[in-house]
């Protein structure tokens, strides 16, 4: 256990949640040096998977951080199918759960475009560097263009050095 995002992700793995690390934190995993305050995952939004996610976070006081009054996360079998994204705050940090990634697709496409990594003996999946670049190019916000400079440099360094 390392605290923060790593613990958060390990909890999801241990609870059997189907997810892929995406967004800025995926860039960190690939070697970028910028900072991000949250971790983004693309996950299967099937009710069973979301309920597993809720169980994994249950003692971390998860709330919908973008709702007025920061409403607690209270998914049920009846309402779990109503969400497209979940923007959560927990005791271990911000966790954004997305059902699809612009430029890549839904969870199944994102999973197919992901690569495995091992953290503390657990198998996680992270969006591949090429797919992450495609996603950032599709979003094309100023912060995406910032990240793209690093991501493309990382890709070239890997190709030239045969790294990772």
């Amino acid at each position: 256990m390392n605290g923060g995002f790593t613990d958060l992700l390990e909890r999801l793995v241990d609870a059997g949640v189907g997810f892929v690390i995406v967004g800025g934190y995926a860039g960190i995993v690939h070697g970028c040096t910028y900072m991000t305050q949250d971790v983004d995952i693309c996950c299967d939004f099937a009710p069973a998977n979301l309920l597993a996610l809720q169980r994994a976070l249950s003692d971390l006081r998860p709330v919908h951080r973008m709702t007025p009054g920061r409403v607690p996360l209270e998914l049920t079998a009846a309402n779990a199918g109503e969400f497209k994204n979940l923007y959560l705050d927990t005791d271990l940090g911000h966790l954004d759960c997305l059902s699809e990634i612009h430029g890549v697709g839904g969870y199944e496409q994102v999973r197919q475009a992901s690569v495995p990594i091992e953290v503390e003996g657990r198998a996680l999946r992270v969006l591949s560097l090429d797919a992450l670049i495609a996603a950032k190019e599709a979003m094309n916000r100023p912060r995406d263009r910032e990240a793209l400079r690093q991501l493309k440099a990382v890709r070239q360094l890997r190709r030239e050095g045969g790294a990772d």
């Binding site: 605290g3 070697g31 040096t33 900072m35 400079r149 990382v154």
Partner: protein, 63 residues
């Protein structure tokens, strides 16, 4: 009316050099190289350490 000789095609532009562009933008490539020497798990640990330290400084109002 004269026919213009066929113009030679311009050479294909080379692939953009992402490293040069990053350096010109101010990105420290040596830090990227150092990160690539680590495993993904090591990158995550170091990032968490840096983030925790930044948050402590923010709470102490140094940032």
């Amino acid at each position: 009316m004269t026919t213009q000789p066929e113009q030679p095609k311009p050479p294909e532009s080379p692939q953009p050099d992402a490293i040069r562009e990053a350096v010109e933008y101010g990105i420290d490539i040596s830090l990227l190289r150092a990160n690539l020497a680590l495993t993904p798990a090591e990158r995550m640990r170091r990032y968490q350490f840096a983030l925790d330290r930044m948050r402590r400084l923010q709470r102490a109002r140094f940032l």
